[in-house]
């Protein structure tokens, strides 16, 4: 119409791009975890299913486990959920959840509706525990070895690719995979 509307038009275009960018955020992060190769933080947190019971890191010693940080307010976590159920079905490594800054009642409903892939879910409503793990955002997944060392961290949703390329090879010693 007139040239004075041009800046507004350009801005609207940019806003649309930014909106798409936010909604469709990429799952690949660029942040290296300071925890990689270091012992996982020890914790003792209430169990989501039974708050009188504690989920403790000492009980997890001696086994591989995947530590998955999630929350019901996290849209990406819902997308990730199907992958977690697949991981559970594979039965190779147990999933331990950390329900982060969340309402436990909503979290229970979520698990009831979508299925529960976790061996146990620890509740971290204050976000205190996630600080120790250096969590930037949900979802994040840590692979912890039997010695309690974090060997891999996935920022963003766990993908098929990460599962087959990064996690499975670490779980199986090379010669066992060959035989």
């Amino acid at each position: 119409m007139n040239r004075f509307l041009l800046p507004l038009g350009l801005f609207v275009l940019l806003a649309v791009v930014l909106a798409v960018g936010i909604v469709h955020s990429p799952t690949k992060g660029l942040i290296a975890s300071p925890l990689l190769g270091k012992p996982a933080p020890s914790f003792s947190l209430p169990d989501l299913a039974d708050p009188s019971h504690q989920v403790r890191s000492v009980d997890l010693r001696g086994h591989w486990y995947l530590f998955n940080v999630w929350a019901t307010w996290c849209g990406e976590c819902r997308a990730e959920h199907e992958m977690l159920l697949k991981v559970q079905l594979a039965g190779v490594v147990p999933l331990v959840g950390l329900d982060w800054k969340d309402d436990p009642a909503q979290a229970l409903t979520w698990l009831k509706q979508l299925g529960n892939p976790y061996q146990a879910v620890a509740v971290d409503s204050s976000g205190r525990e996630a600080i120790d793990w250096g969590v930037y955002a949900a979802p994040e997944t840590f692979l912890v070895n039997p010695q309690g060392i974090v060997v891999f961290k996935q920022i963003g949703a766990l993908t098929d690719e990460a599962w087959t390329r990064e996690i499975l090879p670490r779980l199986a010693p090379p010669r066992a995979a060959g035989s």
Partner: protein, 653 residues
């Protein structure tokens, strides 16, 4: 107790900002004197509340109150006191609080200066600033509250990010933010003018000093940031075109254009709508920069998911602020016709070229910065754009800009004739070319064409900038601070150009493996590795290397770079060691222990004139400060007296 007090103060500040915005905008619109009178108390109250909130958060940091989540995440009891205070702006939440605090400070300054403005206009300016402040306060309280508690409290904090534990960090963000926030004032003046539907030369005269001061702060902030990156990050460079740097550079480019365009509006009453648009653009980029840097939308869009509301809120806020201003622009700007004309060779033309080229430069940086985001949003995969894109595209607009500068300052307003200064221009160009060739092919002996061009342009700007001041001085005429400031700022640009081309052309970088007792020679200097020993800091362990630097057998310096391992975050940082010698900047960074006979990998760099880059930036900022302090801006009060009575009478009607 203190965190709750701080939060309460922030809520009160939010309410006062709402009042300030409402009374400031509705008061003049409805012609209510009393509403307009309520604006100043709201400004003062808001400033007190924001200062209280900042004091509360600082007290929590100083007192190691790890029941506050933000303190637990960004501080530690072993952290030295100095950094416990600086940790306030070590992450997103506190940075926002700092932003709000600086905005309150600017607003108070404007309110004090506004006693010389017509009351309706002053109320509108403060009202628009109130809207900005309201938005930031709401964002902080809703999504990024720094006062949230942890229950149970953390036994100790996670420590401040080690790379931020440096004196450079402590001063760099506040200064940078002062610049960012300062453009809010230019933005508010622009919006107020559009609300009034009137924009005259007087308006430009009011806006100019504020804009220039903000620009000076931004210049200093960018230089400090670049200096900090140079010696702390240890990557061996001072500018990387990374998104965070670009976020501060784009408002600077547009701000520079705005400073020049305001000059035309002030002197000739031209470029009105263009000036408005630049004012909106400069502040929009500042806001975008603030968000990009601290929320990490570009570094990793993923960070937004930390709280999905954050990204949405930011976008909504930007749409309201920028979109609102642009709607106002589309509606009101067409009425602001400029009546005067000018000839092609007149100074106006050169300033128009300056503006266009600066905006193109900002546009190329903007495109390069957002390209990864856009390609990702369109599902084209992730891509990164680096120096191979930025360096040449940026130069395409910068070289003509620098070439036109010397001619532009000698052009006269309105008329396109250069006769008086043609001879001076020609002689300075010849002299500059001789000096440039000497520098490029004689002094350093292995110059390239770019070195010659850069050095010539730089020297030409210096010589031609000095022609008029020297002429006036010889005739015993006084030099106004505005002209002096302009000259100094242009000298700064010239020095920066010379320094940048020299650094770019003659830097020597070597990565070597050295055993204790071994010597590396780089660019005529010998670096003898004496060995390493362990060092203990307040909150880190370090390995320190010792290097004896000599030149032709003469001792130059002893350099002690370190590799630090911070206790809490287990992060390793490399502390470079730097020394100056005859204009050359020598830098050593310790790499890895190669586990072979005590051999270490070491990065050695010799950069000529790199310090001049930062020095030149401070010269530019000094020029800005000089220009802003010119008498004519302060004398505006006298000229305004009739206007004030007129508008008071209008208000009384």
């Amino acid at each position: 107790m203190l965190p709750e007090l701080g939060q309460f103060a922030l809520v009160l500040a939010l309410l006062l900002a709402a009042l300030q915005a409402f009374y400031g905008i509705a008061g003049p619109a409805m012609g209510r004197e009393r509403w307009m009178a309520a604006v100043i108390p709201a400004v003062a109250g808001q400033a007190v509340m924001v200062a209280t909130a900042v004091a509360c958060l600082v007290a929590s940091f100083v007192g190691n109150d790890f029941s506050v989540s933000y303190v637990a995440e960004n501080s530690n009891s072993a952290l030295p006191l100095f950094y416990r205070v600086a940790a306030l702006w070590g992450a997103h939440e506190g940075s926002l609080l700092l932003w709000i605090f600086l905005l309150a400070a600017w607003t108070v300054a404007v309110a004090i200066g506004a006693t010389r403005l017509p009351p309706r206009f002053a109320a509108r300016v403060l009202g628009v600033l109130g809207v900005v402040s309201f938005g930031f306060l709401l964002f902080t309280l809703a999504t990024s509250n720094p006062f949230l508690r942890l229950d149970p409290p953390a036994p100790d904090g996670r420590d401040l990010n080690p790379i931020l534990q440096d004196p450079g960090l402590a001063v760099h963000p506040p200064i940078l933010y002062t610049g960012y926030v300062g453009f809010a004032v230019a933005f508010a003046f622009a919006c107020a003018a559009m609300l009034e539907g009137r924009l005259d030369q007087q308006w430009a005269r009011w806006t100019r000093p504020w804009t220039t001061v903000a620009w000076s702060f931004l210049t200093c902030g960018i230089a400090l940031g670049s200096f900090w990156a140079y010696y702390e990050l240890g990557w061996g460079g001072f500018w990387f075109w990374d998104p965070v740097e670009n976020a501060s550079f784009m408002p600077w480019l547009v701000g520079t254009a705005l400073v020049h365009s305001l000059a035309v509006t002030d002197k000739r009453g031209l470029f009105k709508s263009w000036t408005l648009l630049l004012a909106i653009l400069a502040f929009s980029l500042s806001m975008l920069g603030t968000f990009l840097v601290r929320s990490g939308v570009l570094v990793s869009v993923h960070s937004f998911a930390a709280d999905p509301r954050r990204g949405i809120f930011i976008l909504a806020f930007l749409i309201v602020m920028i979109g609102g201003a642009l709607v106002l622009y589309a509606w009101r700007a067409p009425a602001l016709k400029s009546t005067a004309g000018f000839e092609l060779g007149a100074r106006e033309s050169f300033l128009l070229f300056n503006n266009v080229l600066l905006v193109i430069a900002a546009g190329t940086v903007f495109a390069g910065t957002l390209a990864p985001l856009i390609s990702d949003a369109l599902g084209l995969g992730t891509l990164s754009v680096g120096p191979p894109y930025f360096n040449p595209t940026f130069m395409i607009s910068m070289l003509p800009l620098l070439a036109l500068l010397s001619v532009g300052i000698h052009a006269s307003w309105k008329r396109g004739r250069l006769t008086d200064s043609q001879r001076a221009l020609f002689f300075t160009l010849v002299a500059a070319a001789v000096v440039g060739a000497g520098l490029a092919f004689g002094w350093y002996a292995r110059g390239r064409l770019l070195t010659f061009v850069g050095a010539t342009l730089g020297v030409w700007i210096i010589l031609s900038s000095l022609v008029d001041p020297i002429d006036r001085w010889r005739r015993g005429l006084s030099l106004s601070r505005a002209v002096l400031g302009m000259t100094v700022a242009h000298l700064g640009i010239a020095l920066a150009v010379i320094a940048l081309t020299t650094v770019q052309s003659f830097t020597v970088e070597r990565d070597v493996a050295l055993a204790p007792g071994a010597t590396a020679s780089v660019a005529g200097y010998e670096f003898r590795f004496e060995g390493v020993q362990s060092v203990e800091g307040p909150n880190y362990d370090a390995i320190g290397g010792t290097f004896m630097v000599t030149r032709h057998g003469e001792a130059v310096a002893v350099l002690r770079p370190q590799k630090r391992q911070y206790w809490v975050q287990h992060q390793v940082t490399s502390e470079t060691a730097i020394t100056m010698h005859h204009g050359n900047n020598l830098l050593i960074a310790l790499g890895e222990d190669l586990k072979a006979g005590g051999r270490w990998s070491v990065r050695i760099q010799v950069r000529p004139l790199v310090s001049l880059v930062w020095f030149a930036a401070f010269i530019m900022a000094l020029g800005g400060a000089l220009a802003a302090s010119d008498r004519r801006y302060r004398a505006a009060a006298g000229a305004l007296a009739p206007a004030r009575t007129a508008s008071a009478a209008e208000g009384a009607r």
